[in-house]
Structure formats: structure tokens, C-alpha cells
């Protein structure tokens, strides 16, 4: 309590509040523009914090991180291109909502549940940091492999009508991520002897290509043929979510928040995995499954709650063990270190006040983002009044700038375009895009953890069956696949002439 009281005036200082606000705003902007991510925002902000006093510097970094995580939903909902990988799952239902004029509802809900998720995970962190980090540390390569495999099983739910097509898509995603320098043996894979290929395919570059390029192409083709779909000005409402709607989805919110916090606490996972798992569980336990993917509000609520819960969750290993869970938290770690806050068990004893300033900064950042977004929604939805063919040109330009900026590499721009073209062809072949994203997100972790586990066990597969956590995730994976087949068989019996059954064959 003493630490909280001494931290309060430190954070309430106007310069610190300003630093957090500036950070949050930068994060929001980077998060909402497709191609610019919070990792990039953090790299830009870090040098600015060198001159700042500790509390302001850390507040600014945290504001940027949180703003970026929340801002990802804006582009995902409005234009169907996720601003960050963590918002990929939000596109599934957020974009259809926007297409039917309910963008305001989706955006408003997203920011509310994001804030809830963030504060929930913060609360979990404050009361149980030692307990949770004790569990997180038990997740070795074998357990992580099992968890990621479980994540891949959600392809069943995302494959739309045909599991075969879903699996093809998933494998394409896994394959694309093997290009480049292999992280374990340092071997070149599918580089064709070129140095440029060594950097491999960046997740975000591939994602921007897959989401943006086919959409831009389709929009321009429709426009040429005079079949452009425009939203009338009256259709774009800045409607806000009602409490009754949130109450109805209370179960989804709490489950997603818990899931996000848990995933965030395990190093080596992160926002995208949490968001997809949350989406899948929301759909699985929903009464109106068939509405998912067509504009179901719970399909926005689940991923947005989960990816923001990751922020608090990832603070647990970061602060208590000094382990960054993803590239973004690695930059925050650098910022903490340079200001003399060495994460680790002693941080909570020697720098108690600073730890509380971190907690308070997170709260301030969320309040700021809630306010920015809430008042911004009326402005954001106006984007939809721009004729789609003009908007798509603007998006195209932003995507080129964004993909270049990630690693200052033109190779990445070509990769984005190539993958985008491939995405368009796949779309025409009715191969769903989402499983590709899942393969992209999970592929590198899946492979790395599998191989590391086998190195640890000297080649014995027994390592995967020796831990309870791994066994639980394997069992869940099998259950999900089994349920999928049972469900499909039933559907086929119920409607023997349905098109779905032909597709599945």
C-alpha cells in the first residue's frame, strides 16, 4: 500500500501523464495503419525516452505498446486489414459488421472489451505475479509445441465449409514461413542462393499481402465493371454498444480475458495465438455458430479482449523473470534496463515504487486510449464514406510504406505483392485465407519448439508425453478434431444434398 501511495504522485505528474498520452497516441496511430505495428512504434519511441526521467520513459513505452495493441482493431474492422497480427482474428466478424453499416458498434465494443481485457490482466498480474510466473516457467519446448498444435486445431473451425481446403491453406501458411535462415541450425532454406531471401518472410508482410492485395484488386475490378458497392452516408452510424449486449457476452469476455492473460504469460507465444484461440472458443460455445464470420459481435469481442489481456500477461514473465515474450516486449525490456530497472525477482523488492508506477501507467494508458478511441470513432467511421476504389488506392500506398518500414527492405514490398497475388488466386479457388494466417503465425513456433524438444530429449519422442500440460493440450486437440468430424457427419446426414457435403468430399 505504501508503494502505491508513493507511486501515485509520481504518475500523476503532468509531464508523466503527457508522456503516457503521447505514447498511447503514437501507438494508436501505428496500430491502426495497416503495415505499421506497435513493434515499429516502440522502436521509434525508444530513443525519445533516453532523455526522459524513468517514470515518464517507462510510461511512454507502455502507452505505445498498449495503444498499438488496441489500435490494431480499427483497420481490421473498418477496411478488413488487420493493423497488427494480433488483430487478424478481429477481421473475421469486425469487417462484415462494418460492411453492414455497424462499424461504430464494432469499434466501440472493441475498445471497451480491450480496456476490460487489459485491466483484467493487470489485476491478475498484481495479485499473482509469482504464482503465474511459476506456472509459466514450466512451459518448456514440449509443452509449447502441444499448445501451438492445439492452436492449429482451430483450423477446423476457421476452414469454413471444406476441411480439405482449410488444411491446404494451413500448410501454405506453414510453408511460407520456412523461407530464410533456419533459427536452430543456421541453414538456408528455400533461399535460392540469394542473400535477400535470407531474411525470410515477415509475418506482418505476408499478412498485409494476404488481406490487402486481394481486396484492393477485387474492389478495382468491381469498380471497372460498374459493380462497386457503396455505403450510403446514412448507413454509416456511429452506434455505440449497449450494456445489455455486453452483459449477454459476459461469459465470452471473461473466458477470453483469462485465456489472453494465460497465453501472454507464457514466453514465446503472444497476441495472435491468444486472439485466434479466443475466437475459436467463442464460436464453439455460442448458440448461433452459423452467424460467426458474417458479423457476429462476439467474434469481435473474443479476440479483442484476448489480445489486450496479453499485455498484462506478458508483463508477468517480463518483470518477474526478465524474459520478453515477443519482439515488442523485448524493446520495452531495453527501455527498462536503460533506466536502471532490471527485471527479475529483485525488482519487486528493491524497486517496489517503480513497479507500482508501471501498474498505474498501464491504467492511465487504458483510460487515455478509451477516451481517444471513443471520441475518435465518429471520425474513423467517415472513412467508410470514401468511395471504395479511391480508398483502396490509399490503402495500397499505405501498405507499401508500411511493409517497407518494418525492416527498411524493398524485398519485403515485393514479398507482400507476390503473396497478395497468390492470395487473390487462392481466393478465386475458394481457399480460405484465415487458416493461412494461422499457419503463418504458428508455424515458426511450432517447428522451433518441436525441434528443440527433440534435441533436449536426444531424439526421444517420449518427451512429449511426460508432462501433464502437454498431454492436456494434445487431448484437447484430438477432441476438437473429433467433434468437427462428428458435427460434419451429422450435418451430412441431415442434408444429404447440401452443397457443403460435396465440398467436403
Amino acid at each position: 500500500m505504501d508503494a502505491l501511495l508513493s507511486a501515485l504522485p509520481l504518475v500523476a505528474d503532468p509531464s508523466v501523464l503527457l508522456a503516457i498520452l503521447v505514447g498511447s497516441l503514437i501507438g494508436l496511430i501505428f496500430g491502426s495503419v495497416p503495415g505499421l505495428t506497435y513493434s515499429l512504434a516502440l522502436a521509434v519511441v525508444l530513443p525519445m525516452t533516453f532523455q526522459l526521467p524513468t517514470v515518464a520513459a517507462v510510461g511512454m513505452l507502455l502507452g505505445t505498446y498498449i495503444g498499438g495493441m488496441t489500435g490494431g482493431s480499427v483497420a481490421a474492422i473498418l477496411i478488413g486489414i488487420p493493423g497488427t497480427p494480433s488483430a487478424a482474428a478481429t477481421v473475421l466478424d469486425g469487417y462484415p459488421l462494418a460492411r453492414t453499416g455497424r462499424a461504430g458498434l464494432a469499434l466501440g465494443t472493441a475498445v471497451l472489451v480491450s480496456t476490460f481485457g487489459g485491466l483484467f490482466s493487470l489485476a491478475v498480474m498484481i495479485v499473482s505475479v509469482d504464482f503465474v510466473s511459476g506456472i509459466a516457467i514450466k512451459f518448456g519446448p514440449a509443452e509449447l509445441f502441444a499448445l501451438v498444435l492445439f492452436g492449429l486445431s482451430t483450423i477446423c473451425g476457421l476452414a469454413e465449409k471444406s476441411l480439405l481446403r482449410g488444411l491446404i491453406a494451413g500448410v501454405i501458411g506453414l510453408l511460407v514461413m520456412t523461407v530464410g535462415l533456419d533459427a536452430i541450425d543456421g541453414v538456408q532454406r528455400m533461399t535460392f542462393g540469394s542473400t535477400a531471401f535470407l531474411q525470410g518472410v515477415d509475418l506482418l508482410v505476408a499478412m498485409v499481402g494476404l488481406f490487402a492485395v486481394p481486396q484492393i484488386m477485387q474492389t478495382l475490378i468491381d469498380w471497372r465493371r460498374g459493380r462497386e458497392i457503396r455505403l450510403e452516408a446514412g448507413d454509416v452510424r456511429s452506434e455505440m454498444p449497449k450494456w445489455s449486449e455486453l452483459r449477454r457476452n459476459f461469459g465470452v469476455i471473461v473466458r477470453s480475458a483469462a485465456l489472453g492473460t494465460g497465453i501472454g504469460a507464457i514466453p514465446g507465444t503472444g497476441g495472435p495465438i491468444a486472439a485466434f484461440l479466443a475466437y475459436d472458443q467463442a464460436r464453439r460455445f455460442s448458440k448461433n455458430k452459423e452467424k460467426f464470420g458474417k458479423g457476429e459481435l462476439a467474434g469481435v469481442i473474443a479476440p479483442e479482449t484476448a489480445n489486450n489481456s496479453v499485455t498484462g500477461g506478458s508483463m508477468i514473465p517480463l518483470l518477474s523473470l526478465g524474459i520478453p515474450g515477443d519482439p515488442a516486449t523485448a524493446i520495452i525490456l531495453g527501455g527498462l534496463l536503460i533506466h536502471g530497472l532490471t527485471p527479475g525477482p529483485l525488482l519487486f523488492m528493491e524497486h517496489k515504487t517503480e513497479v507500482y508506477t508501471i501498474y498505474l501507467s498501464i491504467v492511465v494508458a487504458y483510460v487515455a486510449i478509451l477516451a481517444f478511441q471513443y471520441f475518435g470513432i465518429k471520425l474513423f467511421v467517415r472513412v467508410l464514406r470514401v468511395p471504395p476504389h479511391i480508398l483502396s488506392v490509399v490503402i495500397g500506398v499505405l501498405c507499401v510504406i508500411g511493409t517497407f518500414a518494418i525492416r527498411n527492405s524493398f524485398f519485403d514490398v515485393y514479398v507482400m505483392m507476390t503473396i497478395g497475388l497468390l492470395g487473390y488466386l487462392l481466393m478465386r479457388a475458394r481457399i480460405p485465407v484465415t487458416p493461412i494466417i494461422l499457419g503463418l503465425v504458428l508455424g515458426p513456433t511450432l517447428e522451433r519448439e518441436f525441434r528443440t524438444a527433440l534435441i533436449l530429449s536426444d531424439g526421444s519422442y517420449a518427451i512429449f508425453f511426460q508432462s501433464t500440460a502437454a498431454l492436456i493440450f494434445f487431448a484437447l486437440t484430438i477432441l476438437i478434431i473429433a467433434f468437427h468430424f462428428i458435427g460434419q457427419t451429422r450435418a451430412r446426414r441431415a442434408a444429404p444434398n447440401a452443397k457443403a457435403s460435396i465440398d467436403a468430399g
Binding site: I184, T195, G334, I338, L346
Partner: protein
């Protein structure tokens, strides 16, 4: 006044054009830098943070911004290739490290260290070997004894194949003569310390900064550091050589380099800016917190060091595979 200035520079340009534009004029070198200098950063994490700080400090010295630009990937190959392809005029420099040699000898780079003009070494980082505090091993020789007499192999956590900590681990165990009783487990993202804490590996080689918090909390113990001298912040930890590993001396340096053919005057200006930055309180302050040491070396000495280390790394990579 302004139009006059433009007129003179126009005149100067015409004269320069007449005297072959491609050759940088002596005047241009004296004025260096007249525009921002781009510093390519090859890795994330500490490398990036120190690089950004150094760029910030050098900007103040040069009177022109030094802009840190991150070009990561391919174990440094992407960034080296970029700088290698730029004009040798000092406006493109790279925040380099021993990775130039490990990248080349692993076949990831089509050119070696000779494609770059050394500017200055700025920092060094020395890996440390750590074990769990409850392992019962008080010294390096305890560990070696246990491995020699034991049935099972020692599981050793470091970063991926060809990374600096991986090379260090291989050199250490070769020196100790127990390399065939060691399993090297590669971890990305600096996860090795946690894996050691959790008991999935028996020892780990990473940077001291990653171990220090866990040593202070009594969970881990550092047995030795791999350089030829002890590390200031942990001077109670012996060097591996002192602890019985022959004359092992492995240190990672970071410094600046420019493409081959960069004029000597320009290199000197950059070297002096780096020297001032290395002497600043700000870098000193950061070194204690981030866990690196400042160790300035001028272009001449730095060049000799790079050549010497290149041989060592070539040897290690040959025997390691």
C-alpha cells in the same frame, strides 16, 4: 545572400564536374558530414538499444543526425549486404560485430570483413557460463568432473547454431575436452536462462546481464566468463581460463564500419565522433545497466582485431561441424 550561395555552389559543382564528379573532392571530405549519416543496425535487443544510444551521442559530435536504421535478419547478412552495396562516402555505416565473420564462414555472406573499412570498436560483451545454484557445482572444475564421471550428457543452453553464444559454448567445451559429452540446445530470444531456471538444461551460456538478477536472487550461479579479463560488474566471477579452461579468450565486440574505399579523412571523423561518444557519461551509465563494457579501439587496432578474430571463428566453425 542565399542566391549568392546557390550560385557559388553551382559554380563549384560545374568545376567539380569538369574534374570528374565521381571522385569525391577534398572539399567534400573536409565538410563531412553535410547530410545525415545512416547507421545500419543488424540485430534487435541490446545491440539495437546500444546502437540507438550511440547514434544519438554521435549526432551531437558530428553536427548532423546519425540515423539508426534497423535492417535485421539472416544473422546480420541483410544489413551487411545493404551497407556493402552503398557508396563508400561515410554516409552509410554499419553497427557491426563478430557476426561479419560467423556469417561469412557459414556461407551466408558472399563477402568477408575485408569488404569493410573499420572505423572504431566501441563496446565489448563477454558471455558467461551459469548453472543452477542447487546443482552442487561450485566451480568449473566441479562441473567438468561431474560430466566426465557421469553417464548422462550435459545439456547446454545457448542461442541458435552459429550465434555468438553457440560458438562460445563450443570453444569452451573443446578447450575442456568434454565436447562429446555435451548436448547443445539452441534457444531463440534469450530464453536459455529461463530454461536453466526451470531445470530443462544443466548449464547455459548467455550474457551476464541476463543472469545477474537470478544470481542475486540466489537461483543461479555464474561459474566463469569467457574473456581474458574479469568483467567489472561481476568481478568475483573468474575467467574460464583462470578456472581451468586453457587459454580461452572469447569476447564479442561491437563497433562501426563503412564500405571499403571510404576516404581516410571521413573514417577519422567518424572515429573521433565514436571516441567522444565512448567517453561520454551517458554511454558509461548505460553500460552498467545494460551489461556491456565500453572498450574503445581506433580504426587501425580494430582492423587488426577483426582479422585475428576472423581466423579464430573460421577455425571454430570448421571443427564444430
Amino acid at each position: 545572400m542565399r542566391s549568392f550561395g546557390v550560385a557559388t555552389s553551382w559554380l563549384a559543382a560545374s568545376v567539380a564536374a569538369a574534374a570528374l564528379i565521381a571522385v569525391p573532392t577534398a572539399k567534400a571530405q573536409e565538410d563531412f558530414p553535410t547530410k545525415p549519416v545512416e547507421m545500419t543496425i543488424l540485430f534487435g535487443g541490446t545491440a539495437q538499444t546500444i546502437g540507438q544510444l550511440l547514434a544519438d551521442l554521435m549526432s551531437k559530435e558530428l553536427g548532423q543526425p546519425v540515423v539508426p536504421v534497423s535492417r535485421t535478419g539472416g544473422g546480420g547478412a541483410i544489413g551487411y549486404s545493404h551497407v556493402h552495396s552503398t557508396r563508400p562516402d561515410g554516409y552509410n555505416i554499419v553497427w557491426n560485430s563478430n557476426s561479419i565473420s560467423s556469417g561469412y564462414h557459414q556461407g551466408n555472406l558472399p563477402f568477408n570483413y575485408e569488404a569493410f573499412e573499420p572505423i572504431a570498436r566501441v563496446t565489448v560483451e563477454v558471455p558467461a557460463l551459469a548453472v543452477r545454484a542447487d546443482s552442487g557445482w561450485e566451480s568449473l572444475s566441479d562441473m567438468v568432473e561431474a560430466v566426465k564421471s557421469g553417464e548422462t550428457k550435459l545439456k547446454m543452453g545457448a542461442s541458435g547454431q552459429g550465434s555468438f553464444t553457440d560458438l562460445t559454448a563450443k570453444a569452451l567445451f573443446q578447450e575442456l575436452g568434454i565436447e562429446d559429452k555435451v548436448v547443445y540446445v539452441p534457444y531463440g530470444d534469450g530464453k536459455a536462462p529461463v530454461e536453466l531456471l526451470a531445470g530443462r538444461v544443466d548449464a547455459a551460456i548467455q550474457w551476464p546481464g541476463q543472469f545477474i538478477p537470478h544470481v542475486q536472487s540466489g537461483d543461479l550461479k555464474m561459474l566463469c566468463v569467457t574473456g581474458s579479463e574479469r568483467v567489472e560488474v561481476i568481478d568475483d566471477v573468474p575467467t574460464c581460463a583462470e578456472a581451468g579452461a586453457g587459454d580461452l579468450d572469447i569476447t564479442m565486440w561491437r563497433g562501426l564500419a563503412a564500405p571499403e574505399g571510404t576516404p581516410q579523412e571521413v573514417v577519422e571523423k567518424l572515429q573521433e565522433a565514436a571516441r567522444k561518444a565512448a567517453e561520454s557519461d551517458q554511454l558509461k551509465d548505460a553500460s552498467g545497466k545494460l551489461g556491456f563494457e565500453i572498450s574503445f579501439m581506433d580504426a587501425q587496432e580494430f582492423g587488426e582485431l577483426i582479422a585475428k578474430d576472423d581466423e579464430v571463428i573460421a577455425e571454430l566453425l570448421k571443427s564444430g561441424n
